[in-house]
């Protein structure tokens, strides 16, 4: 390891690089991240979302990341390295970007592990950009302006909203693929709207959300009996990313279930709220608390728009709010439980149970530290309090075979059917 790396020096993404460097980043939420990628491009970046899922991804991950590191790090780094090594991109004009949450979980370390891996494989010159809301690492060539942040937030809201609806029509659609087509159509329309700075303010957003809901409501459904609802919660990457969870949503669909996946918005609010809670619990800057509260309220306002748009369509499931989750978790975990998905994960399970979806797949990477507590650690309490809860905890890692995972999920589904 060079002296530069040892002293923690990192390759900076400069203004010059912004002009002609391609920025690769891993997929996590297919819809939201497609929007985000386009937002970046609208501000002069050249981004490319990676969706490769072949076995080279895992191989590269195993090769360059410590085996006991969490599975998401292994996949994300494997995916990025595979792309770097694929020869498809000029590595002299290449940058990588990953999200960084900060906080006491191992996940905050992904970016450092990625740099180590790049260094080891001879690509130490490639800059890595941290995408975070904590101001963790700064790059002169990568700045998030206010208008860009608005578009990014809007991407998250629209992404959550579309997936929410799609999951409810897809299991019942008459014309196979109709929901996915509509998702695609709206993704394109939103990109165009963003380009012209439309659909961003709350009022405009309300209108667009209604339009989206109307379109999904218009999808012809078979009218068959409601399928068992199966909630997905868990560590954020394996919860959302098809690569991380062996395409769990598709599996649930193929097993005749309707997946319910709480979105990214609550997680984002949760991460901001953590800072407010820190000041409440341990003392600290009131100014910081006030600023974070403003930010939290702002996103909660967007969240209310989603709920409002949905209220006009009783055929769709209601969307909860962050304050609902805060209320539900009382008596289970403290608000100070913030590493990884923290109390939010348990709260999402509670919300699912309360909203008629007590069948839950709780996903985590093998050996996930926070999930020992907020996932597996809470299942017994939930079962005691809500005997109808039917939760299966699934570990994901490169060695865990699909057959084993699917077998366990099938058991949960068989139980769900009996309960009906």
């Amino acid at each position: 390891m060079s002296a530069k790396q040892e002293s923690g020096g990192r390759v900076i993404f400069t203004k010059e690089m912004k002009r002609d460097y391609t920025i690769l980043f891993p997929n996590m939420l297919p819809v939201t991240f497609t929007l985000i990628s386009e937002v970046f491009n609208q501000y002069g970046y050249k981004t490319k979302m990676l969706t490769e899922t072949d076995s080279v991804v895992v191989e590269n991950g195993l090769k360059y990341v410590h085996n006991d590191t969490c599975y998401p790090a292994l996949l994300v780094i494997g995916q990025l390295l595979s792309a770097v090594k694929s020869g498809k991109y000029d590595d002299k004009k290449l940058a990588l970007m990953i999200t960084q949450t900060g906080g006491g979980c191992r996940a905050s370390n992904y970016i450092h592990l990625l740099r180590k891996a790049l260094h080891k494989s001879g690509y130490g010159h490639i800059p890595v950009i941290s995408l975070n809301i904590s101001g963790l690492e700064k790059n002169p060539g990568f700045k998030l302006g206010l208008s860009m942040v608005r578009k990014l937030l809007a991407s998250m809201i629209y992404g959550d909203f579309i997936v929410w609806l799609r999951n409810q029509t897809k299991p019942y659609e008459v014309k196979s693929g109709a929901s996915d087509e509509l998702t695609e159509k709206w993704t394109h329309q939103l990109i165009e709207k963003f380009r012209h700075r439309r659909g961003l303010g709350k009022r405009q957003m309300r209108g667009v959300l209604r339009e989206i809901a109307r379109d999904f409501a218009a999808i012809a459904l078979t009218g068959e009996k409601k399928k068992p609802l199966v909630g997905i919660v868990g560590e954020i990457y394996v919860k959302f990313a098809p690569l991380g969870n062996n395409n769990l949503e598709a599996f649930l669909l193929s097993e005749g279930c309707e997946p319910v996946v709480p979105g990214l918005t609550d997680f984002m609010i949760f991460k901001i709220n953590n800072r407010v809670v820190d000041v409440d619990l341990y003392g600290g800057s009131r100014l910081k608390k006030a600023a974070c509260t403003v930010m939290q309220r702002y996103i909660e306002g967007y969240q209310r728009e989603m709920a409002a748009a949905l209220s006009e369509f009783p055929q769709f499931r209601k969307m909860g709010s962050f304050s609902d989750l805060q209320r539900l978790i009382k008596g289970y975990l403290g608000y100070g439980n913030k590493m990884g998905e923290g109390w939010l994960l348990t709260a999402e399970m509670l919300e699912l149970i309360h909203s008629g979806a007590p069948n839950i797949v709780c996903t985590q990477p093998f050996g996930c530290l926070p999930n020992h507590i907020v996932g597996k650690g809470m299942i017994k309490r939930l079962k005691d309090d809500y005997p109808e809860s039917n939760i299966v905890s699934i570990d994901f890692d490169p060695g865990a075979t699909r057959i084993n995972q699917e077998n366990r999920i099938k058991l949960m589904i068989a139980n769900a059917r009996v309960a009906e």
Partner: protein
């Protein structure tokens, strides 16, 4: 209507045919040896006799290998736990059961039946420990089968503590017990007990097993002693332990019953069923495959010719007369012995599985050698190495013993003088070392994983009904080796399961396994990223490399030709013999032919009562013909049971533990008692809280000292079986406080630790931070018990004083006045400071002591709670025994300031390790080891970084993985290798200085 249930499991296929009245017309249980679909078809043919010709029948398939079959055959599938529950509910004998424990080949399940008819199931997840396959694997170690193991267990005297989570760990536990002369009977019963413990620990997850328990599955049907272990461990009365008839085929029964209930509409004539099963048997799914190992027989011949060149000098043993040297490698699974001439020619060699008693094997060999060579040969030196080094040395009065890593290096040098990389893959060890400047530069041993080892292939070959040799030959010409990935055995088992499901042939599995073993060794143990990293002159050795498929896979993977000595499997013994020669003795002390004639030996298991470690020891007594007896104690951690004295070298880990335990008031008779579980961060913060509560007028009461019993006390409330052992102990600690009548328990949640200014942030790991909340949610607290788990951040002194004032003044908490709380907080902070400075001065004293006496210092780096003797199993004692002065990371970390790391340096405890490593590398005559608890996620980050820090500064990095396993055999090897490597480095720099 006739109903058929087919249960295609991981190792067996079960078929049941039920008649109109649900009587069993046919039942069959057989091992499928990887050919699932053929076995199903065969059973179906057998069942045909009882099936009607024309009348349609119903069928349902279940089992872990059944899903693929059902898809391929287009027949209905029912989830196996669901099927089992169905059967349990249908028979009077079992229907009032409260829970089912079912062990299968690779599955273990508990099904709980709730009062309102609800079912709750627990299946083993990614871990296959504690299953039938585990028992099979362990039986192989004892050179018997599962039934033989059961017979052995009947005559047991004591139960050893064996980890069953993973075959690897169990083997690590069992091998030394066997090698040190433990009784096979006791090992057998311990294996079964381990299965019971694993089932209960892994699957109960906070729910108690009470009432009538129904036991199902093959192992529980056939193994009487396993039943007994379960019944006794769960304290079940005879009527509450139900072992129903046909327990081995219950899932198949359930599938048949399910078919009868649900599928009557889809009945099919038997002939059509047969067709569907036949087509499934020939239908093979697309399977991920790898390129073949060889493309032609010629290629194999050329490969063999090349490797035959690396041979020991020829010597005619029949006529040779002169000096000779003896080397014995009492390895983990095999015993190796060679007798060589001064130039390294082999006069006699021996390689055999231990079959439980290496002493007996060596005795017979010595006898043979004496008879064969009579007076022609004079043995001038005899040296032993390997796990059983000391036992053999003491039994036969050898001249010396040498740690195995050094023996291997010596041997490798004989073949490639400037070897720079040695990879030794043995039965259950992978050893790998790089050599730089003629000294061992780094050592890597497998600890968490046995899939890079040979015994896995062997065990698997046997399970498929082949010898290891046959199985390896099969693989050479496999056309499409299965891609099994690279990870631990347990996971590999399920990958193979999947491959079998997809119809892979045994030869493809054989080749695939060889490739996996190599990949594991390379990427899991060695952690190489490219072949260039390994070195240019590579010697591969160990019994596993006799397997040409493995050797070839290795060469293909690293893309280079390597040297495999013809005596690859004997290298340890060969090296020992070469070292015996180097001793330059005029006469060897080796047992003489006369003495050997009447040699007898006896081994007695005892438990040492000298301290809390409660070492399980074996006292071996050797008697020779002339009536001389020698005793050898094995399994001990310190010299107390041998010499009656404990080594008195300074040991900061021991000092800290005693100091902290001495803070225990044992509670207050007037009831003003705060119970504190002495776990995790309490090993750091106890002085703080003691002073805090003392100032408020309370006495503290600590949980009982950690022990195996304490762990078992809380075992059933542990929800996550993959969490680290230190966290698991917290359950027992809290229970012990409750059991001792403590009604006010305090254990705060602390996401933040103290900020020592040496890191980018100052967190605790998530487990340390939030475990109190997990305990509150999973442990049964009596109504009168109050469990206080508030959130505090001690790094923010002002914030803490305010927050603690609010919290402890609440009348439902302590009702203390905020003013008193402020005073208490101040006292607490000073007490903590006082503890820290005391620790630093004690550390100074220890280091000066080392300097004055010319002793090496060992920095034992881990978390504060690693000083718990139940967590570190007395490693610190072993260290002082080996001549080290022991200091801990927190005593020297403050000697270094902040430095940017290439990983995010955000945990206080972990940051101390980085600084301790930097400090250690500046201290003369000082070595560094890292203690890592199995399952510790943060150490996946720290261990690589520590290696970089140390190796970048010319120090050796040594990692010791610790777990609930008591045995320290591997730890000892590492420490001794560390000493040897460090000595060699010193000698080397001495030589350089001389030039």
């Amino acid at each position: 209507m006739i109903k058929i249930g087919i249960d295609a499991g991981s190792t067996t296929v079960k078929t049941v045919v039920l008649g109109d009245d649900n009587t069993i017309l046919f039942r069959s249980y057989e091992r499928h040896k990887a050919c699932v679909r053929d076995a199903v078809l065969r059973q179906f043919e057998q069942a045909s006799a009882v099936l009607p010709q024309e009348t349609p029948v119903v069928v349902a398939i279940t089992g872990s290998a059944g899903l693929g079959l059902s898809k391929a055959a287009g027949l209905p599938f029912v989830q196996e736990v669901f099927a089992t529950a169905k059967a349990v509910r249908s028979y009077p004998e079992t229907q009032d059961g409260t829970a089912v424990i079912e062990l299968g080949g690779e599955d273990a399940k508990i099904i709980f039946f709730g009062q309102n008819g609800s079912i709750e199931e627990r299946m083993n997840g990614t871990c296959a420990g504690g299953t039938g396959a585990f028992i099979d694997q362990m039986a192989v170690l004892l050179n018997t089968d599962a039934a033989g193991l059961d017979d052995l267990a009947e005559n047991s005297e004591q139960v050893y503590n064996i980890a069953s989570r993973c075959g690897v760990f169990a083997k690590t536990d069992i091998q030394p017990i066997l090698n040190q002369g433990g009784r096979r009977e006791d090992v057998a019963v311990s294996v079964l007990q381990a299965v019971v413990d694993q089932t209960i620990a892994g699957l109960c997850q906070g729910r108690e097993l009470t009432g009538r328990i129904v036991f199902l599955g093959g192992p529980l049907t056939f193994l009487k002693q396993l039943r007994r272990r379960f019944t006794e461990t769960l304290s079940l009365t005879e009527e509450n332990a139900v072992f129903p008839e046909n327990a081995d085929v219950f899932a198949a029964l359930g599938a048949a019953l399910y078919a009868g209930d649900v599928l009557s509409g889809s009945a099919t004539p038997p002939a059509e069923l047969r067709k569907k099963l036949q087509s499934a048997a020939t239908d093979i799914d697309g399977q991920k495959t790898l390129p073949p190992l060889f493309s032609s027989e010629e290629e194999i011949a050329a490969f063999r010719e090349r490797h035959s060149r690396a041979a020991a000098p020829e010597v005619d043993a029949q006529v040779y007369s002169g000096d000779a040297y003896l080397g014995i490698d009492a390895g983990s699974t095999t015993t190796k012995l060679v007798l060589i001439t001064p130039d390294g020619g082999i006069l006699h060699s021996f390689y055999s599985p231990n079959e439980g008693s290496p002493v007996e094997l060596v005795k017979r060999q010595l006898d043979e050698i004496y008879k064969k060579f009579l007076d022609r040969v004079t043995i001038r030196g005899a040296v032993s190495t390997g796990y059983g080094e000391e036992l053999i040395k003491s039994a036969f009065s050898l001249d010396s013993g040498i740690v195995e890593t050094i023996a291997h290096l010596e041997a490798a040098r004989h073949f490639v003088a400037d070897v720079d990389f040695i990879l030794d893959i043995g039965g259950q060890d992978v050893k790998c070392f790089k050599i730089a400047n003629r000294a061992i530069d780094s050592i890597m041993l497998n600890e968490a994983c046995s899939s890079g080892c040979g015994s896995f292939i062997e065990t698997f070959a046997r399970a498929l009904g082949y010898s290891a040799e046959e199985f390896s030959q099969l693989g050479l010409l496999a056309k499409a080796p299965v891609d099994l990935g690279s990870r631990c055995t347990v996971f590999m088992n399920s990958s193979i399961k999947q491959a079998q499901k997809d119809g892979a042939a045994p030869e493809d599995i054989s080749a695939g396994l060889s490739i996996s073993v190599v990949k594991n060794a390379l990427y899991k143990v060695i952690r190489a990223t490219s072949p260039d990293e390994l070195g240019r002159r590579i010697v591969v050795q160990g019994g596993t490399f006799y397997n040409d498929a493995v050797l070839r896979a290795f060469e293909l993977e690293v893309g280079a030709e390597v040297t495999r000595p013809s005596i690859a499997g004997l290298m340890g013994a060969y090296g020992a013999a070469l070292i015996a020669k180097r001793l330059g003795l005029a006469e060897s002390a080796l047992i003489t032919q006369e003495q050997l004639a009447g040699f007898t030996y006896e081994s007695k298991p005892v438990t040492c009562g000298g301290c809390t470690n409660k070492c399980h020891m074996s006292i071996n007594t050797f008697t020779t013909a002339d009536g001389q007896t020698r005793k050898h104690v094995s399994g001990n951690r310190c010299s107390r049971p041998v010499t009656g004295k404990v080594n008195e070298l300074p040991d900061i880990a021991a000092w800290k533990y005693e100091y902290l335990r001495s803070l225990n008031d044992g509670g207050d008779p007037d009831g003003k008692t705060i119970g504190i579980p002495f776990v995790l961060n309490m090993f750091e913060n106890l002085p703080f809280w003691k002073a805090f509560f003392q100032t408020l007028g309370y006495k503290i009461k600590l949980s009982a000292p950690s022990s195996r019993q304490l762990y078992l006390l809380g075992q059933k409330t542990i929800p996550s079986d993959t969490v680290c052992y230190p966290a698991k102990l917290a359950h027992g600690a809290v229970q012990s406080l409750i059991d001792r009548g403590c009604t006010t328990l305090f254990y705060p949640c602390m996401p933040y630790n103290f900020d020592e200014g040496i890191s980018d942030n100052h967190y605790n790991c998530p487990v340390v931070a939030y475990y109190p909340e997990l305990l509150a949610a999973n442990m049964k607290m009596p109504d009168n018990v109050r469990f206080f788990a508030p959130y505090f951040n001690l790094a923010n002194k002002k914030g803490f004083i305010k927050r603690a004032g609010e919290y402890f003044s609440r009348t439902d908490i302590l009702g203390a006045s905020p003013k008193d709380v402020k005073r208490a907080a101040k006292a607490a902070f000073s007490a903590y400071e006082a503890y820290r400075s005391k620790l630093l001065s004690e550390t100074e004293i220890a280091i000066s002591y080392a300097r004055e006496n010319g002793l090496p210092v060992l920095v034992v780096s881990g978390r504060p709670y690693h000083i718990d003797p139940e967590i570190n199993h007395g490693i610190n004692k072993m260290m002082t025994e080996l001549g080290f002065v022991v200091v801990t990371e927190d005593g020297i970390s403050c000697k270094q300031g902040y430095e940017k790391r290439s990983v995010l340096n955000q945990w206080t405890y972990q940051a101390r390790m980085y600084n301790a490593a930097r400090q250690a590398s500046q201290m003369p005559n000082t070595e560094f080891v890292q203690l890592v608890s199995f399952g510790c996620g943060t150490d996946a980050v720290t261990s690589d970084e520590l290696r970089v820090i140390l190796e970048g500064r010319g120090k050796l990095y040594t990692q010791l993985k610790i777990d609930d396993i008591q045995n320290l055999g591997a730890v000892r090897i590492r420490l001794r290798s560390l000493i040897a490597a460090s000595d060699e480095r010193k000698a080397e720099s001495g030589r350089e200085a001389a030039i």
